[in-house]
Amino acid sequence: MTHIFIIGLNHVSAPLDIREKFALEGDSRLTVLADLSAIVDEVVFLSTCNRTEVIYSAAAVEKHDHVRGFIQRLGDLTLDQFEQFFYCHSDRTALTHLFRVAAGLDSMIPGETQILGQMKRAFDDSFRHGYTSGNFERIYQHMLNTAKTIRTETDIGKGSVSVGTVAVQLAGNIFGDLDDKAVVLIGAGEMSENAAEQFHRVGVGAFKVVNRSIERAAELAARFGGVPYGLDEIRTPLIAADVVVCSVSSQGYVIDRTLAGDIMEARRNRALFIIDIAVPRNVEPQVHEIPEIYVYNIDDLKKLVDRNLDGRIAQIARGEAMIADRVDELSSYDRRVLSGLIQSLQERVTEIKVKELEKLFRRNEAFTEDGRAQIEQAVNQIVNKILHDPIISLRRELQKRERGSRKIVDIFKDFFNL
């Protein structure tokens, strides 16, 4: 009897130093996949920075122990460590877990889509190298459909969950199209650089970098085709700015209420979006009181990110309910296949039996009605006894197994020429 198993670890079950031992890329990932395929019938090997999983099917339970041993050796782990950091799922729970992972319900950021791409790649590798059969293909299709349905029918992927993306989205809501907008970066450190990258990605072309050290400002400005300014010249770029990102280390406010009022007058009250990600803050809180200035500090942005994240977490239960339905669907599909198989087998045997009895009775017309009935009864009993065990075994499969095996179906079909 073949079972499906998943052995794996993720960001919840294992710390980084353990996870990184199993985060394999390129050829080393394919080598591990090849080694695993020698142990089990079908196998898929998923390896990302946050998750490593071996998804496989095996008829014999001892093969499960072989896989465990292989993983222990791969990460140089003791049995205790293995049991502490790895989770094992089988059959229905394995399928449920697989669908959860694909839909992003099990990810660090619920609803993220990167994992689905990584899973597709893992399955594709196994299909390409022949490490899986039609059984996994069907599971794979179900997995993709389920992930897509969950994504479209729930709000699991709704709302930005990174500070940078939220800031860009807010800018879009204030200004609409960002292509012709000017971004002023106050500070030339890593945070300014990250912010510039985010805005550059959405099409902003005009950057101005303001910094104490004009050299450092020029360096960053050059990367994005911008213009450098010294901190003492801050007024000029602010008048032309649409978005201002403040991340300079300063004990006092870089933009206070007076300066903001002054530049707004010069700008004829054109909207200004200020993102203050510096700690301590660069922008005086009263600046936000000016109607056309929108000031967001790091806490404001994080609050929005958390709200979006909460919204996604709230959708997990809906996604799980959909997964339960899909797993049931997959199981009922197997039941339908096996029921059909039993029916075909019975029809085939009945057809042979009727044909052979007719031949026998045609050749020997001397048989009395009573004799014919006795022969027919005997043949029926023989046939039923022969069929009894395989049919019972198949029925037991239906009752016991949560997921069918393509291989059993194939063997049965070949065996009885169905």
Binding site: L170, N173, F175, G176, A271, H288, Y296, L304
Partner: protein, 280 residues
């Protein structure tokens, strides 16, 4: 026959009304689809009823009780459908359609007493007055809906609310453009409508008509509209104040409109046909 058509539209009006209001809270695609389908069906019924009535009585249909609400509802719905087709701002429907659908309900059920409320549509001038005023009002409805969304979005952005990130509430410049376009488009129609109304009132009504609340209300609305128009044109007011002004203007016009509907008795011409639409 016409009564049956109008009554048949009531379930769709009710479904549309509830769904559009529901959509403003839950923002579900399916709810919006139901709201749109129901209101399109209601619109078709309404159009059929108005066309049938027009075919039967010609422009005299305009003086039938409740008809002015129905015509106004038809214009508001038409403007919403066009705006939705052009801008794809679904939340506009949550503001404009309940208003239009409510007008249909008032128009359908404004039976019996309606004859007494008929406007004195005895000439081409009064018909043109009504059409222009209604067109102007339809555009102000659109400007009002856009202004309300603008104020909501602005409030969300200023107060760091999660709806600041709601992409179903469009960016501020989009809403700004829409409210401005609708506001400007409504002004000539509304102005022409008011002028025609005053010309008619001066010639048809009793002396002292100029002090009647209907006329005062209409002139006050137009005056406020003109001031707002001039200030926006001159760049004296920000988008925030402009949006607030439009919301106030809408309130003033609604008040004036209902005042007009209920004060018309004194102005009524003796040649009016006081037959409710439903009894035909």
């Amino acid at each position: 026959m016409i009564r049956h058509i109008l009554h048949a539209s009531i379930p769709f009006v009710a479904i549309g009304l509830v769904s559009f209001i529901l959509y403003s809270f839950n923002r579900k695609q399916r709810v919006f689809a139901v709201a749109t389908i129901a209101s399109v069906i209601a619109f078709v019924f309404l159009s059929a009823a108005l066309i049938a009535q027009l075919g039967r009585t010609g422009l005299a249909a305009a003086k039938i009780g409740g008809a002015h609400y129905l015509v106004l509802a038809w214009i508001v719905m038409m403007i919403y459908f066009l705006a939705e087709f052009r801008y794809r701002i679904r939340l506009l429907g949550s503001i404009m359609m309940p208003l239009a659908l409510m007008l249909i309900l008032i128009g359908v059920f404004d039976e019996g007493a309606t004859g007494a409320r008929d406007l004195p549509f005895t000439s081409g001038i009064t018909i043109a007055h009504m059409i222009f005023v209604f067109l102007g009002f339809g555009m102000i409805c659109l400007a009002f809906a856009a202004s309300l969304l603008y104020l909501l979005k602005k409030n969300a952005l200023k107060n760091h609310l999660i709806s600041a990130l709601d992409d179903r509430l469009p960016a501020l410049p989009t809403l700004d453009r829409l409210m401005e376009a609708a506001f400007y488009a409504g002004f000539p129609a509304f102005t022409l409508g008011i002028i025609l109304g005053i010309v008619h009132a001066g010639s048809a009504f009793q002396s002292g008509w100029i002090w009647h609340p209907t006329i005062i209300g209409a002139l006050a609305s137009w005056g406020f509209y003109s001031v707002l128009f001039f200030m926006r044109q001159s760049g004296w007011i920000s988008s925030l104040r402009f949006a607030t002004g439009i919301v106030i203007l809408f309130g003033v016009i609604i008040l004036s409109f209902f005042l007009t509907s209920h004060q018309s008795l004194r102005h009524q011409s003796t040649t009016d046909v006081n037959v409710p639409l439903h009894s035909r």
